[in-house]
Each structure stands twice: as structure tokens, then as C-alpha cells.
């Protein structure tokens, strides 16, 4: 067998962490292309029309890497429980085959043991090398999520508009370049220092908005048209719980699902697949926390999220919290999304002012 040159499914900023994981175990990696209108168009053209948006996006991301010479694709399946994500691997392999790409397609089921053994088998890395790579992966992942969270806090408060986003851009560039674990703590210190230097207005009381919904659309800022940044620049403090580590925690500690189920019992009595239950739970949580708005993001035709949307609408009607549901795919124009977000911001501000008085 020829030497594996690996690419994998891209996923927002997490792509950086995945890349260092695979490089850490000694594989040659060509990272997937960053999502842009071209890759989306290419993916959408190849993929079955009615399939969910993230699959089209990831196919589009593979293509430039495949052209550069990648011959192995890592794809994790079954990330969200029982939804169509289970078939992503099988369908992508077939789609690529139909288009003339004979690729060694590695389907990973997300059980920690299976992940471990499969990667070990392909990379032939030693136990210690694996362990080091995994540790580095988690370090990067945790820092990415921490920095994203900090940006959510800093963006609406910054005195000079745009500084936070410039810093974010710099950080992700540096983090991607960083391939030695020994330099990691230096970068971490540096970015935290730079954050602390951003001038902010600490006493500002801001309206709070939460992002909920399907994990891929919520966390990948390119495909959700940078909702987080737009809301932040309008002076909203954005919160979101849905991120990769949240999901990994749920994989490792499965009883979390049971706790969630107990909280949402009046609305939904069973799982609906994906992160459907989580969306209901999060919405209830944010209503309780006196948030001023909830944005629900989903890929067009996402079964679990479409199923819970009427429930979220009901919670919105009962509690009066402003609610906006955005369904995203390659057909959606940014102008339409912007109009909705702008109007939503006005509604949120009205809600915020009413609450205060």
C-alpha cells in the first residue's frame, strides 16, 4: 500500500486541532480547504441535492486537498447520535467514487477505543506518540474554545471596533502554524496577554443572546455567515454551549443525556436524534437565565432540529424571549440573513429595554 497522505473533514476552527492530532501521530497531512463560496459550490454540485448542508460543505473541503495529492480521508461518523450524519461517510465515499476518486476512506465511529485503534493502525505510531498527540489535540481544542468564548465577551465591549477580530485572526493563524508542543504555552501566554490589552468598557450592561442548534452550523462561522461576530458588533453578548468539547463530554459521560431528558420532559419525551434534545434544554436554560434572545441555527432539512423547532417556537411564545430560527444551506443568500439578524437585533434591544424598566 502506498504511503497514506491524509485529509479529513473540515470543521471551523477545530480543523486546526484535528490537523495537529493527525500530524502528531506521524501522518502526512494536507488539511482540507477553508470553506468559501467556491468549495461550497463544488461540494453542493457533487453531493445529492437533498442531503444536509454540512456534508456538502465537507465534500467541498476535501476536493482541493485531494487535488494536491491526498489519498486517505478521515471522517468521523455518528457524531450526533441517530441522524443522517451516520451515513455521511458511506455517502461521501460513494460520491467521491462516482466522481472518479479512488480514495482510502476511513470511517471512524466516535467511540474512543475505536478511534484510537484505527488511527494507530494507519499511522503505526507508538502508544506514547499517540498519547502525546492526543494531549496536544486537547490542549489546542481547549484553547480554541476558550479564545472563542473570550472573543464573545470582548467583542461587544471593545472600545476600538474590530480589535478583537483582528486578534482572533492573528491567533488562529499562529495556532495553525504551531506544530511543536513546547511552543504552545508561549503562544497561549501571548494571546491571553494581547486579549488583556484590548481596551474594553467593563461596566456596560449588554443584552445577552444565545446561539443554539445544530453543532456544525453553530460552531463554523463561515457557514453561519458569522452570526456570532455580527451580533457581537451590534453590541450583544453572545453565548453558546454547543461546541466540540460539549459533545465529547457527552460521549465520555453518557448520563448527561439522561439529565437533559429530565429537564425537558414537559416538552419532549424522547430523543429525536442529533442534538435535538440539547436545543430544547439550552433554550429552557437561557430563558431561565433571563437572556434577551435566542438564535437557532440549523442546516436546511436537518431532521432533529426541524423536529424540535415547533417546540422552541412554543417556548418562545410562552416566555416572550425573542427567537430567530435560521435555516442555512448553499441556496441561502447572505442579504436575507442580514435583514433577519438586523431586525432581530432591534427586537432584542426592545426586549432588553423593557426588562430593564
Amino acid at each position: 500500500m502506498e504511503k497514506p497522505i491524509v485529509t479529513f473533514a473540515g470543521w471551523g476552527n477545530y480543523t486546526i486541532a484535528f490537523k495537529s492530532l493527525l500530524e502528531g501521530v506521524g501522518l502526512e497531512v494536507i488539511p482540507p480547504a477553508k470553506t468559501n463560496s467556491k468549495t461550497i459550490a463544488e461540494g453542493a454540485k457533487m453531493a445529492p441535492e437533498m442531503f444536509c448542508f454540512p456534508m456538502k460543505v465537507t465534500i467541498g473541503n476535501y476536493m482541493p486537498a485531494l487535488r494536491k495529492g491526498a489519498n486517505t480521508i478521515f471522517m468521523t461518523e455518528n457524531v450526533g447520535g441517530s441522524c443522517r450524519q451516520r451515513y455521511y461517510g458511506a455517502i461521501q465515499e460513494k460520491v467521491l467514487k462516482d466522481n472518479g476518486w479512488e480514495i482510502n476512506f476511513v470511517n471512524l465511529k466516535v467511540s474512543p477505543r475505536q478511534l484510537y485503534s484505527k488511527i494507530k493502525e494507519i499511522s503505526k505510531a507508538s502508544f506514547w506518540q499517540m498519547l502525546r498527540a492526543i494531549r496536544f489535540f486537547f490542549k489546542k481544542l481547549i484553547l480554541i474554545e476558550r479564545i472563542e468564548k473570550m472573543a464573545q465577551y470582548y467583542r461587544p465591549r471593545e472600545v476600538e471596533k474590530g480589535t478583537t477580530d483582528k486578534l482572533l485572526f492573528w491567533f488562529f493563524l499562529k495556532l495553525e502554524e504551531l506544530n511543536k508542543e513546547k511552543y504552545f504555552s508561549g503562544l497561549k501566554k501571548e494571546v491571553l496577554k494581547r486579549f488583556s490589552r484590548i481596551k474594553i468598557d467593563k461596566n456596560k450592561v449588554l443584552p445577552k443572546v444565545a446561539l443554539i442548534g445544530e453543532i456544525y452550523t453553530v460552531t463554523d462561522s463561515t457557514i453561519n455567515f458569522e452570526v456570532e461576530k455580527k451580533l457581537g458588533n451590534e453590541g450583544m453578548e453572545v453565548h453558546r454551549e454547543m461546541e466540540l468539547s460539549y459533545h465529547l463530554k457527552k460521549v465520555i459521560f453518557p448520563w448527561k443525556d439522561w439529565l437533559i431528558q429530565r429537564k425537558i420532559n414537559p416538552y419532549l419525551k424522547s430523543t429525536v436524534g442529533g442534538h435535538g434534545r440539547d436545543a430544547v434544554y439550552e433554550m429552557l436554560h437561557y430563558v431561565k437565565k433571563d437572556f434577551n434572545g435566542v438564535v437557532h441555527l440549523l442546516p436546511f432539512g436537518c431532521m432533529p432540529e426541524v423536529t424540535v423547532r415547533p417546540i422552541l417556537e412554543k417556548i418562545h411564545q410562552e416566555s416572550g424571549i425573542p427567537f430567530l430560527s435560521l435555516s442555512l444551506d448553499e441556496q441561502v443568500a447572505e442579504a436575507g440573513i442580514n435583514t433577519r439578524i438586523e431586525a432581530f437585533v432591534d427586537v432584542v434591544i426592545n426586549h432588553f429595554k423593557n426588562k430593564k424598566t
Binding site: 436546511f300 425573542p322 435583514t339 431586525a343 427586537v347
Partner: protein
């Protein structure tokens, strides 16, 4: 006299409203965009200027607000002080005439939306996301196909005694259903009335789904001119629908009121002279990073006045090289 100008540039029509300090409408204009928003704004401004000149009113423009789907473009070329989404402006405009309004149904050229208000502020809204069934352009197309002037469309619908049922989930199927009904031998007014009912039903089932519709209900936008659609909504909601005066220009009016309430120190309005200037917009793909944003550039008389569409802000800041040099 200090006045404020509101401009609403939609997909099908462009609206201008000039108000004074007491929110009285001095002048209003409703014209078709005809696929060229820049020209529509330029010619509309010329008409506003002519009106001012002909009535020899001493007008001092205190501020300009733009709204509608082309609000950014219109804002750039007129030098607007406020660029606001059409949902907020419609809510604002309607509240002046009907202060206790609870629900606004607005159906324009390509958009249809519902706005729920409480105490004069919007608390909830929805817009059609992927389907343009029931909007003005579809009715336009059908009127053209049936060779009925669009202005007569509503009256024709009202004259029907026995509206036929037309499926209206999707415009394409709706049209084939209409053709089928014609070929079955249904009367044309029954088909037109059935179409109106179907569209009202579709709006309530898709856009307004799950919304708390309370009276008074106000119906706005170009489609509200159509008496057939008014009746269809009244039948479907089993309630009276109010169509206020100025029903088609309330978005522009709302923009003017909003800028009047928060007037700028000095307006950025570029003056009526821009009607005669050469305004061009071009776009290019930025190659700076993998995002590959499509950047749009507006020029007035060859000079770049604004760029937008980039995510990083590299182009939106103006003091940079000419894009011709890339």
C-alpha cells in the same frame, strides 16, 4: 423648513417619502425599480427635487433614512444617515397611523413578512425564507399570463361567486394547477379568487405559522392594493383587516420618522445633484485569504465612495488602493 427623507428600495418598487417635523407627509412617490435600483433612486430623487421646486417650499433636508432590500446601496449613493431593515421601519411607520396595531402583514415584491407588535415595538417577526409564493412578483406574472391588468386583478377576484381551490404551496405547482383548472373550464374569476385564497392560506401556513396573530391586523405592501387578497385574508383569519392610507409607502415613512427622532448633527446627504451623476457599481473577488469575499465597489463619477461585502474590513476602510490596480 426642516424635513426628512425616507427611501425604501425594494425588489419591485422604490418608495420616497418626505416628511416635516410633525410627521406630516409632504410628498410621496411610488415607482417601479425596474431592475435598476441605482437609476430608480436617481430618478426618484429628481422627482422629489422637482416637487420641491414646483411648490416652491423652502426645504432643508435634516436627514435621510434608507430601507428595503437595497438599503445599503441606496444608503451609499444618497449618503444616508440611517440604514435600517424593513421590519423595524414598517413597525415604526405603522405605529404612527395605528398606534394600537398588534399584527402587521406586509407582502411586497419578493418578500412577505409578518410582524407582531406590543406597545408599539416589534417583539416577533418572520419572513418567507425560500419560497416566494404569494408575493407581488408572482401575482404580477400570473396577471400577465392571464392578460389581466394587475390593477384589475383584485376586482376580478371579488366578482367570483364560487372560488375554485388552487394548491399554492409552491408557485410552480400553483401555476400548473391554474393552467389545469383553466383547461378544465373553470371561469377565470373563480380561478383568480381561488389563487388569492390559496396565497393567503399559504402565507398563514408558512410565514405566519406559530405566530400569535392578534387584532388589529394591518395589511401593507404592494399586494395590499389587491382587494382580492384583502378579502382572502379576511376570510382566512375571520377578522377585519385594516389597510391604512399610505399602505405601500409605510416602510419609507418609517425610515423618515426614525431619522427624524434621532436626527444627526449634520446630515451626510449628498444632495439632489447625484441624480445627474454617473454612479456605477462593480464587484470583484478578493484574493487575500481563503474566504474569497465578493467585494462590491460603488463609484460616483469614477471616484470610489464605498466598498462593502468583505469580512475582514480590509476593503470597507476606504483609504486604500484602487481596485483596478490589483
Amino acid at each position: 423648513m426642516k424635513t426628512y427623507l425616507g427611501i425604501d428600495v425594494g425588489s419591485i418598487s422604490t418608495k420616497f417619502v418626505l416628511i416635516d417635523e410633525r410627521n406630516q407627509i409632504l410628498f410621496s412617490l411610488y415607482r417601479r425599480t425596474e431592475g435598476n435600483p441605482i437609476k430608480a433612486v436617481q430618478e426618484g430623487l429628481r422627482e422629489v427635487k422637482n416637487h420641491i421646486k414646483n411648490h416652491s417650499i423652502n426645504v432643508d433636508i435634516g436627514g435621510v433614512g434608507t430601507t428595503g432590500s437595497a438599503r445599503h446601496l441606496a444608503g451609499v449613493i444618497t449618503g444616508a444617515d440611517l440604514i435600517k431593515n424593513e421590519i423595524t421601519t414598517h413597525a415604526k411607520g405603522t405605529c404612527f397611523f395605528i398606534p394600537n396595531v398588534k399584527t402587521i402583514i406586509e407582502i411586497g415584491g419578493q418578500d412577505s413578512k409578518i410582524i407582531i407588535l406590543e406597545n408599539k415595538v416589534a417583539v416577533d417577526f418572520a419572513m418567507n425564507l425560500i419560497c416566494a409564493a404569494g408575493t407581488g412578483s408572482f401575482l404580477d406574472a400570473q396577471a400577465f399570463r392571464l392578460k389581466i391588468p394587475i390593477e384589475k386583478f383584485g376586482e376580478l377576484a371579488l366578482s367570483s361567486k364560487n372560488p375554485t381551490n388552487i394548491g399554492s404551496r409552491c408557485t410552480v405547482f400553483c401555476e400548473s394547477d391554474m393552467i389545469h383548472k383553466q383547461q378544465m373550464g373553470h371561469k377565470i374569476e373563480d380561478i383568480v379568487a381561488g389563487l388569492c385564497q390559496g396565497l393567503a392560506r399559504n402565507f398563514l401556513a408558512s410565514v405566519a405559522k406559530g405566530k400569535n396573530i392578534q387584532k388589529p391586523i394591518v395589511f401593507l405592501g404592494g399586494v395590499s392594493e389587491n382587494v382580492g387578497m384583502r378579502k382572502a385574508f379576511e376570510d382566512a383569519l375571520e377578522q377585519k383587516i385594516i389597510v391604512p392610507k399610505y399602505n405601500t409607502i409605510l416602510g419609507a415613512f418609517g425610515a423618515a420618522v426614525l431619522i427624524k427622532e434621532n436626527p444627526p448633527q449634520k446630515t451626510k446627504f449628498l444632495g439632489f445633484g447625484i441624480s445627474d451623476k454617473d454612479i456605477k457599481c462593480t464587484s470583484f473577488h478578493c484574493k487575500g485569504c481563503p474566504n474569497q469575499c465578493e467585494v462590491i465597489e460603488a463609484r460616483i463619477d469614477g471616484k470610489v465612495v464605498a466598498r462593502w461585502g468583505d469580512r475582514c474590513g480590509k476593503w470597507s476602510g476606504l483609504n486604500i488602493i484602487d481596485s483596478n490596480e490589483i
